[in-house]
Amino acid sequence: MARSTSKDAQDLFRALWSAYSATPTNLKIIDLYVIYAVFTALIQVVYMALVGSFPFNSFLSGVLSCIGTAVLAVCLRIQVNKENKEF
């Protein structure tokens, strides 16, 4: 069954990827920006886990600004998405 599960996973992944490719470019740009912001935040969290939270202000400002900009970008994506026209 493992083989089929992995094959199913691969198939699922490919299906998702092809569906995603259909999205318009501007939305893809926004998605890319969101992923970038989240990754930056993650790296900062990992760093804090490593060395401790001494300048806690710095940690907070770094992480929260990344998360904030990601959230705002998501809002923009929702508004720009043509499929949400009825809202």
Binding site: T25, K28, I29, L32, Y33, I35, Y36, A37, F39, T40, I43, Q44, V46, Y47, L50, V51, G52, F54
Partner: protein, 681 residues
Amino acid sequence: MLLLPRMASNLARSLLLLLFAFSICDAVAIPGPISDRHRSAALELFAPHHGSFASLEETYEALRVFEILAVGDKPDVRTTTCPKVLENLGSPTPLKDLFYALKVNGILKCKVNKDVFKDIASKLKATVKDAKTLVDLYYSIGSLVLIKDQASDVDVLLADANGTFQTIKALSQSDGKWRYTDKPESSTYAAAPYCQVNSVKNDILKLFDSIEKYDDGTFYFDEKLVGGHEHQGSISTTSSVVRGVSAFAAVTSGKINLPGDKILGLAKFFLGIGIPGDAKDFFNQIESLALLESNRISIPLVLSLPATVYSLSNKDQIKVRVNTVLGSAAPPLTVKLVRAFSTGAKDSAIIDNKELKYDQNSGHHVLDVLPNKVDVGTYVFVFEMVLHDSDGEKVYATGGQIHVPVYFTGIVKVSNAEIAVLENDLGSVETQKTLDLAGNDIVSLSANHLQKLRLSFRLTTPLGHAFKPHQAFLKLTHEKKYEHIFVVGNAGKKFEIVLDFLGLVEKFYYLSGRYDIELTVGDAVMENSFLRPLGHVELDLPEAPTSKAPRLPPLAVDPYTRYGPKAEITHLFRAPEKRPPTQLSLIFLGLTLLPLIAFLVGLLRLGVNFRNFPSSAVPATYAILFHLGIAAILVLYVLFWLKLDLFTTLKTAALLGVFLLFVGHRILSHLATTSAKLKSA
């Protein structure tokens, strides 16, 4: 008053005697009249520099002081001063110099030509007419008066005396009262028939109402009540008032009703100054006293005692002197001792109503016989002067009853002195030695902590009464220089102290060894006060318990170390937080920048283009500006992180934000319209 000096006992004893003698002598309450000390001080203060004085004013002050005090061998300044005087009288000079030149001439009597006086007189009369200030009027009228005295045939009468007087009154209203008292003096000289005497009299009485008073009956004028412009000080103010009032009294015929005690108070004020150190104060004091001595209102008489400390053992006699303020003889009078009482028992008087005999040779009034009831101590003697001439009451001011503190010293008998070591519980005597406190022998005792030391003696006054001295101390000094002082208490005549060593072990810091014993008995009226080492006692005290190790106090500290700099305190900063190693931080910095690169790469792969970038001029600039604005804000972030503080950053951010808002709105609206146009088309 008396101290416990740490010196050899002989030196200490003599010092004690000197100290108490000086302390009592300084307490004379009545200021004496002018004496030879004033004369020698005058010679010192008014010493001319190279044969002449600095200014005419100082010359006049010096000459007048020498004249009043009748100082012998005063410096002769005629040769240098007369030419100065002549020079000032000849050429045109300021009024003040002219005034003082004339005053100096009045004393020195230099040879001045009559024409010079005539010339000056006419010039002065013109000045009087146009004088604008009170000072000018004072000097000019004063000079006219002086010319009248020195050259009697020169005409000095003022043309319009009444008008002058009105000007004086008007100017004095605005200038302050103190000069007002000087002006009537000069104005009345020159304008005798015209002045309004009564109004000036009333003003003088009003001025005297504002006189200030010290508690012992001294009267003086204070500057703040009379409103001078420069800082005058009470000596100058009071002397100006005295000058004005006495000059006025000399000129007017009527009587000024000033109470005699105020005049006496003013005399006491000037005498109470003692010998002033400043030449101007000295001059003011001497001149005012001279005016008070011969004024027409009432002449003060001063009662003084040459000494107020009398020794019973020497059988001193009480002497009293009565003089005028300058030290000359008083009119015939008798001094009565109204009452004398001890300061401790104010109600019972030991002497009542005795008259003092007058000794022609010395000029003193002497109390020949002192009653037997006078013992050592402090007394108050109340004197009163009775003039032989009954009319004298109006002319002289005697001051009623005068209270004088008098001290009687004597030998206090010290007897029955003995020192003993007692057993603690039973009180039985182990060793007992009698002491002769007048002699020099010392005792040697030994005791342990279970015993007591007892010292006792008796003190008796010459009349056999009990005597409690100011100081009765017993001092024990250890070899290591630790001192312990105890007060010897008394019951009547017997003085006794018992030192219980059991209770004192801790006070003595558990130190055993040899203690030196010293007894001090002293009082201001005791002529034989003593500080006597009695000997030593070998004390055997138990060891200090280790739990309570006695902390010996530090001995007399060198004052320089006590107030010197203390140890430096270094601040302990909070230990800094542990920071991660630099390389790790830098690695993660790189890692953080990685997603940015990935983002840009992804954008390129998605085929990001600049198609919608407007090409025509106006929107293009807006677009560029918009992008530049955003870049600027990012740069501001970086700068804020690196260098700037919050305030400047916020200011710049606000400015940039406004700019960006404006530009962004333009470009985005442009884009929106173009896309709308595209859609509709």
